[in-house]
C-alpha cells in the first residue's frame, strides 16, 4: 500500500474538512449554541440544516474573493502561505493514513522539520505584512514554538527509543498504555501547534486582531485556511497512529484510523471549549514546567523499558 502515498494530501484535505466540522459542531454544543440537527425530517429541510461541508464552503468563498496585498509588504507575504501549504502537504506523505505513507527510515525527523517549517513560513509571511498586530502575533508564535518543540520532539522520540526506529510505520502500536507520558506530552504539543484554546495566544482575537493573519485576505487567506485544515489532520492522524492502535493494512486499519482521528478531535474540541486563554508569559512558564517534565519522564520511561527491563 505504500505505492499510492501521493493520495495522502487529498485524503488530508477531505478529512480535514470533516474534522473542522466536527470541531465546530462539538464546540457549539458545549457552548449551548443550538443549531439544526444533522438529520432532520424532510419536511424541515427548507428551514435550515446542518452543513457538514461548511468549512469547505468557507474556503471556496475565500478563493472567490479579491486578495489585497499591503503596499509595505515584501514578496515573502505571498510566498509564505504557499510554502506553508507545500510543507504541510509534504508532511501528510510521512504520516501513515491507515498504513499508506511514504516509507522512509527517517520519517519522524523529516516530519518534525516539516511541521516546524510550516510554522516558520506562516510567521515569515505574517510579519512581512508590516502590520503591528502580525508582528506581536509573530513574536508570541516564536515564543510558543521555542517552548513547545522540545516536549514534542522528546515525546515522539521516546517512542523511537522504545521501537529502536525513526520510521513512524514501525512505531505504530498501542503506545497509549506502553508510554502514557509520551501520549500526554504529544497531545499537549498538538494543542499548542493547532492554537487550541489555552494556547491560542498568537491569534488572540480580543488582544491582537487575528495575529499573523491580520493582513491576509482572499486567496492567500484561503491558502492559510487549507494549511490549517491539513495541519489539523496531520497532527491528529499522527497522534492516532502513534498512540491508538492502528493496524498497518486491511479494512480494519481504515476503521480504526478514522475512529482514532475522531476520538482525538473530540478531545481537542472539549479542551478548546473548556478553557480560557493563557497570557504569553503564563503559557511559556507552564509549557516549560509541565510538558517538559512529562517529556523527560517519558524518555526515561522508554529508555528504562528498552534497556533495563
Amino acid at each position: 500500500m505504500t505505492g499510492i502515498f501521493w493520495v495522502n494530501p487529498l485524503i488530508a484535505f477531505c478529512t480535514g474538512i470533516l474534522l473542522s466540522f466536527l470541531l465546530r459542531k462539538l464546540t457549539a454544543r458545549i457552548q449551548s449554541r443550538r443549531g439544526p440537527l444533522i438529520s432532520i425530517p424532510p419536511a424541515w429541510r427548507d428551514i435550515n440544516r446542518t452543513k457538514v461541508f461548511q468549512p469547505l464552503y468557507d474556503i471556496l468563498k475565500l478563493f472567490s474573493k479579491d486578495t489585497f496585498i499591503p503596499e509595505r509588504s515584501s514578496p515573502l507575504f505571498i510566498v509564505g502561505p504557499i510554502m506553508a501549504l507545500v510543507c504541510v502537504a509534504l508532511a501528510t506523505l510521512f504520516v501513515p493514513i491507515a498504513g499508506i505513507s511514504f516509507d522512509y527510515s527517517f520519517g519522524l525527523v523529516v516530519l518534525v522539520y516539516l511541521l516546524m517549517g510550516e510554522i516558520l513560513c506562516v510567521i515569515v509571511g505574517g510579519i512581512t505584512s508590516g502590520s503591528l498586530f502580525a508582528v506581536i502575533g509573530g513574536v508570541r508564535e516564536i515564543e510558543l514554538m521555542l517552548t513547545n518543540e522540545i516536549p514534542f520532539i522528546l515525546g515522539t522520540f521516546a517512542l523511537a527509543i522504545s521501537y529502536d526506529s525513526l520510521s513512524i510505520r514501525d512505531m505504530m502500536g498501542f503506545n497509549l498504555l506502553l508510554n502514557p507520558f509520551a501520549a500526554v506530552v504529544v497531545f499537549l504539543s498538538i494543542l499548542v501547534k493547532l492554537h487550541i484554546k489555552p494556547f491560542d495566544i498568537s491569534d488572540a482575537e480580543s488582544e491582537i486582531v487575528s495575529g499573523l493573519t491580520t493582513e491576509y485576505s482572499g486567496k492567500l487567506l484561503g491558502l492559510l485556511e487549507v494549511t490549517k485544515l491539513m495541519l489539523t489532520f496531520v497532527l491528529v492522524a499522527l497522534f492516532a497512529d502513534l498512540f491508538l492502535w492502528v493496524p498497518s493494512s486491511g479494512f480494519m486499519a481504515w476503521v480504526v484510523f478514522f475512529a482514532g482521528v475522531g476520538v482525538t478531535t473530540t478531545m481537542i474540541a472539549v479542551v478548546h471549549s473548556l478553557f480560557g486563554r493563557f497570557r504569553i508569559d503564563q503559557a511559556t512558564r507552564w509549557l516549560l514546567k509541565v510538558p517538559l517534565a512529562l517529556s523527560v519522564i517519558a524518555v526515561v520511561w522508554a529508555a528504562a523499558g528498552r534497556y533495563v527491563l
Binding site: Q31, P198, S206, V209, G276, R279
Partner: protein, 526 residues
C-alpha cells in the same frame, strides 16, 4: 414631598473663588461628581460643580455655581486640585468654548483631533459649493503628543474585536508593556441632551432610555425622579417596588453579561455563551412585566405605565427560582477554571486610595473596598424598605471586580424576591398625570449596574425642560481604566477593559451641547 428640602444645595460664588472652595470641600471629604456648564444667555455661562459626601448616610448633594462672561468665558481649572474634574473640564472646553486656564491636558476628547485645523485651514477650497470633505493632509499635524514618543503605537479601535463599541484607544507599547494610553471618544454623538430640551417630559423619558441599552431603566428612572422632585409628585408604594424590581433585574442582566464578556475577552467563549443562556430567564421576566426585552418604556412620571399583577409576579418568582439554581452553578464553574482566574488575579490593581482620589464609582469602587453605593448612601425607590447589603471586595484587581459583580447578582436575586412578595399584595393605584411643572431644578442620583448616574433637570414652567445635564458612570471609570492600562501588558488590556465594563455609547451620547446655539434669553430657570 414638596416641603422636603431640595436634594441639591446650591451655593453661588464668584468665579475666582472656585479653586479655594473646591479644595476646602475636598478636604472635608467631598467627592466631585461632575462639572458642567449651561449657556444661560444674558447672565452668562453658568458652571456647576457637583459634589457629594460619601461618608454621610443619607448623602447630601452640593453644587458650587458660578457665572462667567459669555463673550470671553475664562475659568481657572480645578484639575490640578483634583483629577476628578479632568474630563468634565475637557468636555466644557469642547462643547461650550470655555477657556479653562492651567488645565494640564486640554486636548480634544470628543471632537476630532484636528478640529482647529478644519476651520482655520489656509488651504483654498476648490469648489466652495461642494460639500465634499477635503481629505488632503492637514496643515498642522493633530495636536496629540502620544505620536511623538519613540515607541510603537498599537491602535485599538474604532473597530476592534475587543471593543464592540466604537472608540479609539491608542497605546504606546514597548516590548508588550503599555507605557502610555490615550482614549478618543466621540464616534457615537447623538445630541441627546439637546434633543431633550425640545421634547416634552413624557417623550424625554423614552429618549433617556435610548442613551444606554443596558441601563435604560435607570436612565428613565433617574430622569423621572428628577422631574418628580420639580413637580413634587408622590409615588405609590407599589410603583416604588416595581421600580426597584426593574432596576435589580437590569442589574442582574447587565452583570451576568459583563461577567460573560470578561470571559470572552480572556478567551473563554463558552462562558459568554452560557451567560447569555442564563440571562434569558431575566429577559423573559422583564418581558412579562413590560412587554419588551431591552427598552422597557414602563417607567413614567409619578409611577409605572402598566400595572404589574399577581399573575406577573408569580411568573417572575418561578423564573427567580430557576435563576437561584443556575446562577450560583454558573459562577462556581467560572471560578473553578484556573486558567481563567489566573488571567484576572493581580491584574489592574486599583488601591482604595487611588480609587477615592480618582472618583471611582460602582463595582470598580466597591472592588477596591470602598463602601460606595447610592442605593445605600442616598436611598431611592424602595431600597430603604428591603433587606440587602452593600457588596465590597478588598482585592482591587480584576478578579475582585468580577466577584463584586457575582455577589451583587446574588444580592439582586434576594431583593427581587422581596419586591415580588410586596408587589403581589399591594393594591394598584392610578398614576397622576403631570400637566404642568413649576419652575425649578431637580437633581437625582441612582446606581445603575456600572456605577452612579446623575441627572440634573431644570424646568422653566413650559412643557419642555430648560436643560438636562447627566453624567454616566463610565465617565469617571474610563479615565481610571486608562491609568490601569498603563504599565500592564498588551494581553491584559482586554481583561482590564472588561473588568471596568465600560459603556462608551453611553458616555458619547450624553456629551453633546451645541456651542453655537444659545438658550433663548429670558427663559432662565434658576
Amino acid at each position: 414631598m414638596s416641603e422636603k428640602k431640595p436634594s441639591l444645595e446650591v451655593t453661588e460664588i464668584p468665579a475666582d473663588k472656585i479653586s479655594a472652595e473646591v479644595s476646602s470641600l475636598l478636604n472635608r471629604g467631598a467627592r466631585m461628581l461632575y462639572a458642567s456648564g449651561v449657556d444661560m444667555g444674558v447672565p452668562g455661562i453658568r458652571i456647576d460643580y457637583y459634589f457629594t459626601f460619601d461618608a454621610e448616610i443619607p448623602g447630601r448633594n452640593l453644587a458650587l455655581r458660578t457665572f462667567v462672561n459669555r463673550k470671553k468665558p475664562v475659568i481657572e481649572s480645578v484639575t490640578p486640585i483634583t483629577t476628578q474634574a479632568d474630563w468634565a473640564e475637557r468636555e466644557m472646553i469642547e462643547f461650550l468654548g470655555v477657556e479653562v486656564k492651567n488645565h494640564p491636558d486640554p486636548r480634544h476628547l470628543w471632537l476630532p483631533l484636528n478640529w482647529e485645523d478644519m476651520h482655520t485651514s489656509t488651504r483654498q477650497q476648490q469648489d466652495p459649493r461642494s460639500e465634499r470633505i477635503d481629505t488632503g493632509p492637514t496643515a498642522h499635524p493633530p495636536h496629540d503628543n502620544i505620536f511623538t514618543k519613540q515607541l510603537s503605537v498599537v491602535p485599538y479601535g474604532p473597530y476592534h474585536p475587543a471593543l464592540i463599541e466604537s472608540n479609539y484607544l491608542k497605546m504606546s507599547v514597548e516590548d508588550e508593556i503599555v507605557r502610555d494610553a490615550d482614549l478618543k471618544l466621540g464616534f457615537n454623538h447623538r445630541s441627546i441632551i439637546k434633543l431633550m430640551e425640545r421634547r416634552d417630559y413624557y417623550k424625554d423619558l423614552f429618549l433617556a432610555e435610548r442613551i444606554c441599552g443596558f441601563c435604560n431603566v435607570h436612565h428613565s428612572l433617574t430622569f423621572a425622579q428628577a422631574v418628580e422632585e420639580i413637580g413634587g409628585i408622590a409615588i405609590s408604594k407599589k410603583a416604588r417596588y416595581v421600580r426597584t424590581l426593574l432596576g435589580e433585574m437590569e442589574r442582574m442582566k447587565s452583570h451576568i453579561l459583563a461577567i460573560g464578556l470578561m470571559g470572552d475577552l480572556a478567551g473563554f467563549r463558552t462562558m459568554l455563551m452560557h451567560a447569555i443562556r442564563i440571562r434569558e430567564d431575566i429577559l423573559d421576566s422583564l418581558e412579562v412585566m413590560s412587554g419588551q426585552r431591552i427598552s422597557h418604556g414602563i417607567i413614567t412620571l409619578g409611577g409605572i405605565r402598566n400595572d404589574v399583577t399577581p399573575v406577573h409576579t408569580d411568573v417572575i418568582l418561578s423564573k427567580l427560582q430557576d435563576l437561584k439554581k443556575s446562577v450560583p452553578e454558573y459562577f462556581d464553574q467560572c471560578l473553578a477554571n484556573d486558567v481563567f482566574t489566573g488571567r484576572l488575579r493581580t491584574i489592574g490593581v486599583l488601591t482604595p486610595d487611588a480609587a477615592r482620589e480618582s472618583g471611582a464609582v460602582g463595582p470598580i469602587a466597591r472592588g477596591s473596598g470602598l463602601n460606595l453605593d447610592i442605593r445605600k448612601n442616598l436611598p431611592y425607590a424602595a431600597y430603604e424598605d428591603v433587606d440587602w447589603d452593600v457588596v465590597t471586595e478588598n482585592g482591587g484587581d480584576c478578579f475582585a471586580r468580577m466577584q463584586v459583580r457575582m455577589r451583587e447578582v446574588l444580592m439582586s436575586l434576594h431583593i427581587c424576591e422581596q419586591c415580588c412578595d410586596v408587589i403581589r399584595s399591594s393594591p394598584s393605584e392610578p398614576v397622576p398625570l403631570v400637566h404642568e411643572l413649576p419652575c425649578g431644578e431637580g437633581f437625582s442620583r441612582t446606581e445603575p449596574p456600572r456605577g452612579e448616574l446623575l441627572y440634573h433637570v431644570a424646568s422653566n414652567g413650559t412643557n419642555t425642560p430648560d436643560f438636562v445635564r447627566l453624567r454616566v458612570p463610565t465617565f469617571p471609570n474610563v479615565r481610571i481604566m486608562l491609568n490601569l492600562i498603563k504599565g500592564s501588558t498588551i494581553g491584559d488590556v482586554p481583561v482590564i477593559i472588561g473588568s471596568i465594563d465600560p459603556c462608551f455609547s453611553c458616555t458619547d451620547r450624553v456629551t453633546t451641547v451645541s456651542p453655537q446655539k444659545t438658550v433663548a434669553p429670558g427663559s432662565g430657570g434658576s
